[in-house]
Symmetry: C2
Subunit: 194 residues, 2 copies
C-alpha cells in the first residue's frame, strides 16, 4: 500500500499499534501531482499537510512587485504545507508547487483533528516534527544574517547535496536570496578558485 512510507516515518518518533496504523492509513490520502501543479496557491486556504513520497516541491511567495521568493524546497521524506494557513485555516501567504512529478500523502486539517482525538500520540508526533522545522527555520535566519551569499551557497550544497541537481539555478538563487546573475558569478568564482 502506498501509505507505508508515512508509517515508517511516524515510527521514527512514536510507536503506533497495528490498529492505529490502519486508522491512519484509512484517513490520509495518497495523491500524485504532475510537474508544475500547485498544492496550495497564495490566497487559498491550505487544506493539507503533505508528506512527500517522491518528487520535489518549492514553496514561494510573490511580493507586491511580482517578484518570487522561494522559502523552501521539499523532497522525498520531507513535509510541506503553508503551516500558517493550515493551522488557522485562513488564506495562504505562500504557493506550494511541484517542480517534479510528485507523490505525496496528504492530511487535511479536519482529519488531523480526528486523528488527534483518536490517537493522542500523534499530537506528540506532530509536535516533534514542527519543533524540528522551527529549529531549521531559525538556523536559516541566522545564516542569512551572518554569512555572505557565497558561504550560503556552499552550505546549501553541503546540507542538501541531492537538491541542487534537481532544480533550475534561478530557483536556487531565489532560495539563497540573491539574483540568478549573482549566483552565476559566484559559481564561476568558485571554479576559478580551485
Amino acid at each position: 500500500m502506498p501509505i507505508k512510507p508515512l508509517l515508517n516515518y511516524i515510527d521514527k518518533f512514536v510507536t503506533l499499534t497495528e490498529k492505529e496504523q490502519d486508522s491512519v492509513s484509512s484517513k490520509v490520502v495518497y495523491r500524485k501531482y504532475l510537474k508544475g501543479q500547485y498544492i496550495v496557491q497564495q490566497g487559498d486556504v491550505c487544506k493539507y499537510q503533505c508528506y512527500i513520497v517522491s518528487g520535489c516541491t518549492r514553496t514561494f511567495y510573490v511580493d507586491e512587485n511580482g517578484q518570487e521568493h522561494i522559502i523552501m524546497f521539499a523532497i522525498e521524506d520531507w513535509w510541506t504545507s503553508d503551516v500558517g494557513s493550515y493551522i488557522t485555516q485562513t488564506p495562504a501567504d505562500y504557493n506550494v508547487q511541484c517542480i517534479e512529478n510528485t507523490e505525496m500523502i496528504q492530511i487535511s486539517y479536519d482529519i488531523r483533528e480526528v486523528l488527534f482525538k483518536e490517537i493522542p500520540k500523534l499530537e506528540r508526533f506532530f509536535r516533534m516534527i514542527i519543533e524540528k522545522g522551527f529549529v531549521a527555520s531559525q538556523k536559516r535566519i541566522v545564516r542569512n544574517f551572518s554569512l555572505s551569499a557565497k558561504e550560503r551557497y556552499i552550505i546549501f550544497k553541503e546540507s542538501y547535496p541531492k537538491i541542487e541537481q534537481r532544480i533550475p539555478q534561478y530557483m536556487l538563487a531565489s532560495y539563497l536570496g540573491i539574483t540568478k546573475e549573482f549566483l552565476s558569478k559566484i559559481k564561476s568564482q568558485l571554479i576559478l578558485e580551485k
Copy 2:
C-alpha cells in the same frame, strides 16, 4: 501564587482540570533574573523552555568573527529558549540574556516529559505554540528577503510597538540585520520625510 500567568496562558489553548493545573504548578519553576544575566549560553545545554511573566530577553548568536546577531526578543507573555538545544539536549547555538530584570516560569526538559505522560493535552498545547513560532519564523525569512531595511524597521515598530523603547538601538539594528550606523541613518531619513 506566581504561576497563575502561565495557567492563564495555557487556558487559551487547552482546558486543564484544577488537579492538572495544580500538577503543572508544582512542577514548573518560578524564577527571577537580573538585567544582564544569562538563561542559556552558547555551548551549554539549554535546560528550560521559559514563559516570561515580566521583563525582556534577547536571543543572540556570536559568529566566528565575534559579531553578535540578535535572533529574537521576548517580553511578558512570550516564550523563550534555544529550542534546538532544548529538544535534543545538546549544546546551544544561541545565548539568551535578560536585558531587563525578568521574572519567568521555567519548564525543564525532563519535567516536560513527565507532564506529557501525566497530561497528554499538554502535547497539544506545546504543538500549538511551536506551530505559531514556526509561522512567525518563516514570515521573518520572507521579510528579510523581500523588504528593504527601512521597510523592516517600520514593520518592526508596527508589529511590536512596546519593544522599541525598551531596548538599545544597536540591539534593534542587530535584530534587523543591519549596522547601528545604518539604522541611525534610516531614522533620520524617516524624520525628514515627515
